[in-house]
């Protein structure tokens, strides 16, 4: 009787033990959404920098361990038709920028500007220590929109002839000088 009672409790304990399910969160401390964005990032790539309908945002610094480049292609209605990104950073930074590209596709520039980093952080369940990654993603989209708008104003306000137009791209640091000689 002792043995059967012992066996029964041991048996119960065993089934209790084997039913323990380790949630994905503990495997590496990452949320599964972050891992999914990391394993299969959406919209990785580049758009042609000099195209008139493309805005490029480059934020961060290698010294901080986080650099994000976000490029948007905007159609004539002011809607973002294509987005591409590249990131040098940790898994959360990659996931934040990847999620940002998904989020802004199809939005107007005004709506895209309004996206807050807290939204990204909530969606990816970022821990407090990783909030700055979502902040950088917010900066990246704003920088891209700013760059696009600057390009549009330069194109739509052609100055009178007889000058040299010097511009430096934020993305590459490349200086382009275009001469507009007067037609006299």
């Amino acid at each position: 009787m002792l043995r059967s009672a012992l066996a029964k409790t041991v048996l119960n304990a065993n089934t209790r033990g084997t039913r323990v399910v380790v949630p994905q969160v503990l495997a590496r401390g990452y949320h599964e959404k972050v891992i999914s964005h990391y394993e299969k990032p959406r919209n990785v790539g580049s758009l042609p920098k000099n195209a008139p309908d493309v805005g490029t945002g480059l934020v961060g610094a290698p010294a901080c361990g986080d650099v994000m480049k976000l490029q948007i292609r905007v159609d004539e209605n002011g809607i973002i038709s294509d987005v591409k990104f590249k990131t040098f950073g940790c898994g959360s930074a990659i996931a934040s920028s990847s999620y940002m590209t998904e989020r802004v596709k199809g939005l107007s520039l005004e709506d895209a500007e309004k996206i807050k980093n807290t939204e990204i952080a909530k969606e990816l369940c970022l821990p407090p220590v990783k909030l700055h990654c979502s902040m950088l993603a917010e900066d990246a989209i704003r920088s891209a929109i700013r760059d696009y708008r600057k390009k549009r104003t330069n194109l739509s306000n052609p100055k009178q002839t007889g000058f040299i137009d010097v511009s430096q791209s934020a993305a590459t640091g490349e200086t382009v000088a275009t001469a507009h000689p007067s037609s006299v």
């Binding site: 002792l2 290698p62 898994g91 640091g173």
Partner: protein
């Protein structure tokens, strides 16, 4: 009828039932050698006496075990058993050595010399002593991680109490010239030489008399022993005077009071004995694995920089994979247990200060991975890791804007980044 309920302990949150990741983080800790566990177990089951009990057999047998362990550790470093003081780990030994010597000699000696690449416990103890009014010189290191002997010589002052320089660095594996440093310090009377040999003991040959070492810190769990135990070698001839940081019944020559944890002490002693016996074999094996890892990675991945002296301890290889961040690499290598110098992997969000002291560019510190190989690492594990790294690095580089810039021929160091 059972009078109590028999409960099996639940192993929550462990990797039980799944395949465990490959362990390549030997500088963080090492697995306990099965022979060490065998030696420890009797002192947990029936030989559980307090080694300081003088009146009965339980105490006597525990005391004998402790003295045997002391002898094994002393033999490992060429010391006399009476010079070994057991502590709770290398952190406590470092604290004891630095603060103990500084406080004892505080009337006449106010200066301490150490390096910029020391372990945090040494740096933090020095910071605390600075708050108390001591002067501390942090010697810089060269690009390969080794200090310059002429700088050390120049830094020693008449009021220098102690020079503390670690034997093998835990992040880069760099070996400091301990014998030469010992010779220099010996020429200055009254200056003590302390070395943190936690990563060195049992791996490279150390002799406290040949190397003129006065104080040495040792750690149990870095030599395939249990965690929670360490030792401090305190020279008796000529006598090193220090003020204990833990007061009590006067155990361990009055330098470290408290009942010794017999199983842990026995474990560390057995681990030391095994290390001494197998040091050459281990070193040859680890060197072979290390060379294999470095050659294979260099053959298949470009833009990889090795941080630290390539002639350092082979079991610690610190590589920076340019244009890829360390934490994202680790995420891809989820079946491998590794460590990185990037900010994202540290609790304080600061990149490794050791790599920064070596003069590595900031982004290289963020891109570093530390591979720690040990006695139980196999060739198959190294092959698996190399394969994984090769595939992952290319994928991450394709995702990296820095890589793209480099491909286009832009020099990244000339860009003015918009800091956040």
């Amino acid at each position: 009828m059972l009078g109590f309920k028999l409960e099996m302990p639940r192993r929550e949150e462990s990797l039980q039932g799944k395949t465990r990741p490959i362990y390549l983080d030997m500088q963080a800790t090492t697995p306990v050698d099965p022979r060490v566990l065998d030696a420890m177990l009797p002192y947990m089951t029936d030989q559980y006496g307090n080694p300081h009990s003088r009146t009965h057999a339980y105490g006597w047998e525990a005391e004998k075990a402790v003295e045997d362990a002391r002898k094994h550790i002393a033999d490992l470093i060429g010391a006399d058993p009476k010079d070994i003081v057991f502590t709770s780990g290398a952190t406590e030994s470092n604290n004891m050595a630095l603060k103990g010597v500084a406080h004892f000699h505080k009337e006449r000696k106010r200066h301490i010399i150490t390096t910029q690449t020391e372990h945090k416990c040494v740096l933090d103890s020095c910071r605390k002593l600075q708050e108390e009014g001591f002067d501390v010189t942090y010697l810089p290191v060269q690009h390969n991680g080794v200090i310059r002997l002429d700088e050390l010589e120049a830094a020693i002052r008449p009021d220098t109490a102690i020079v503390s320089i670690m034997a093998v660095n835990n992040e880069t594996g760099v070996i400091q010239p301990i014998k030469e440093i010992g010779d220099i310090v010996r020429q200055h009377r009254g200056v003590y030489f302390h070395t943190d040999a936690a990563q060195a003991a049992g791996k490279i040959p150390i002799d406290v008399n040949e190397m003129n070492v006065d104080l040495m810190s040792l750690s149990g769990h870095k030599l395939y022993g249990p965690k929670g135990i360490g030792a401090c070698y305190v020279r008796r001839r000529p006598r090193v005077r220090l003020e204990p940081i833990i007061n009590g019944g006067g155990q361990e020559r009055g330098l470290r009071s408290g009942t010794l944890a017999t199983p842990l002490v026995v474990g560390m002693g057995e681990a030391a004995r095994i290390c001494k016996q197998e040091m050459t074999r281990d070193h040859t094996w680890i060197k072979h694995l290390s060379d294999m890892l470095v050659t294979k990675i260099n053959a298949r991945v470009e833009h990889v920089v090795r941080n630290g002296d390539p002639n350092g301890y082979p079991g610690c290889v610190n590589l920076s994979f340019a244009y890829v961040e360390g934490e994202s690499l680790l995420m891809a290598l989820k079946d491998v247990a590794l460590s990185s110098g990037s900010a994202c992997t540290s609790a304080s969000l600061e990149p490794s200060y050791v790599l920064r002291a070596l003069g590595a560019a900031e982004d290289m510190a963020h891109s570093s991975l530390r591979f720690g190989m040990g006695r139980f690492t196999t060739e198959a594990e190294i092959d698996f890791v190399v394969e994984k790294i090769v595939s992952v690095v290319q994928r991450l580089r394709d995702m990296s804007p820095l890589w793209e810039m480099v491909q286009e021929g832009i020099d990244i160091s000339t860009i003015d980044w918009a800091q956040h």
